[in-house]
Symmetry: C2
Subunit: 234 residues, 2 copies
């Protein structure tokens, strides 16, 4: 059986690739679950649960490092053009998921500062924005699982909705701050939490663009509208 070793290597390469994809999906689901938990913690004003979310972020960071190492080991085994795109896309997608986890942990962290002040009547907008981001993260993971560039393009188009809701929330928070100076500090925390969620939308968009790049190569995607309109609020 002279060619058995070769077959073994080939099979094992495919196995490794499949394992890598499932690790990235697992990491992505962890990040989506962290964001959901963070939104829940804001509503319930639960500092202990917030501390758990912050601690959980380390598991996502560790997974990202393991995935990077696995990707590089895989890279050193299959130097084909399509593989090169796969490898770069996998590294970038893992890095984007890691950032999504960071932002979810930041939302949890800021919620503990919010809990030092009386409850705000207007955290609902943040939850709504967060739910859009959770949906976007889950949908882009499905597009990654299915290597589906058209699904990825649809997720990317949805980011405009997040940007619109974010800009509305930003303006709304400014008016609360102007009406009541005691609202300024907690509203500032909400502004940063909203910005964190808006950034999660951007990272989901990056993942969508990397899925496109992975499958379609250099074929250009239409340029996107800019992401954060609040820098024109005056």
């Amino acid at each position: 059986m002279p060619n058995q070793p070769t077959e073994h290597i080939v099979k094992s390469y495919d196995d490794e690739r499949a394992r890598l994809t499932s690790e990235i999906l697992r990491m992505g689901e962890m990040a989506a679950a962290q964001l959901e938990a963070a939104l829940d913690v804001v509503e319930r004003r639960d500092d202990k649960a917030a501390a758990r979310i912050i601690a959980n972020d380390e598991a996502i960071d560790t997974l990202e490092q393991e995935i990077s190492q696995d990707v590089m080991k895989l890279a050193l085994r299959g130097p084909l053009a399509r593989d090169l795109r796969d490898i770069l896309a996998a590294l970038r997608i893992a890095a984007d998921i890691e950032r999504i986890g960071d932002y979810a942990a930041n939302v949890a962290k800021r919620s503990t500062a919010l809990n030092l002040a009386p409850p705000l009547p207007y955290t609902r907008g943040l939850t709504q924005l967060g739910q859009l981001a959770v949906r976007q993260v889950r949908e882009v993971l499905v597009a990654f699982r299915d290597s589906d560039p058209d699904a990825a393009r649809r997720v990317r188009a949805q980011d405009a909705e997040i940007d619109t809701v974010y800009t509305g929330l930003f303006r709304e928070l400014l008016t609360y701050m102007m009406e009541d100076p005691r609202a300024i500090t907690p509203s500032t925390h909400l502004l940063f939490m909203a910005k964190n969620i808006e950034r999660i939308g951007d990272h989901a968009t990056n993942i969508a663009e990397n899925i496109w790049f992975q499958v379609r190569g250099d074929e250009p995607l239409l340029p996107r509208d800019k992401r954060d309109f609040t820098n024109t609020v005056s």
Copy 2:
């Protein structure tokens, strides 16, 4: 001359590595210069210069993509353990520089929103914070150029200074907002700009940690204090 082809490949690999290092350094200097220009634009309230900074960011993004491709091509040629660390470190450092460029462009972008309101008397603190970040970026690039883990560790330790100045600025801006409702919107922009600069410090720290990882491997660095204390401001 039977061994000339081998020598040729080896030489060319080293050449490629040297070229990669100089490309990353060039990219890093572009990001540092962008941040300096953005700070200058805040002081001078110059929307046209801000627009140039925002446009320049694309060159950094393009360079990051080229570097990633070059790194991967290099990876496929030298599968040694130290090379694997080099490759991962190079990819991560390029990604961190790209983010620094983004944050510098964001500072420029927000400055145009500031210019819609009368000049604020307290942008000086932002400039001071930004100058610390510029210094940190330049110093970490020198540590990268010299593959100097001890210099990298010193840069990392400096991040505490940025965090302290940032937290002080955050508190200061909150008091201005409470004193004068008209200050709320422009101060909010300054808060986000300060946060962008604080994040640049974090990315310089990431680069420092990657230099350590690249040279020392898994030898652990002492854990750092947390970065942003404003989430405990109440």
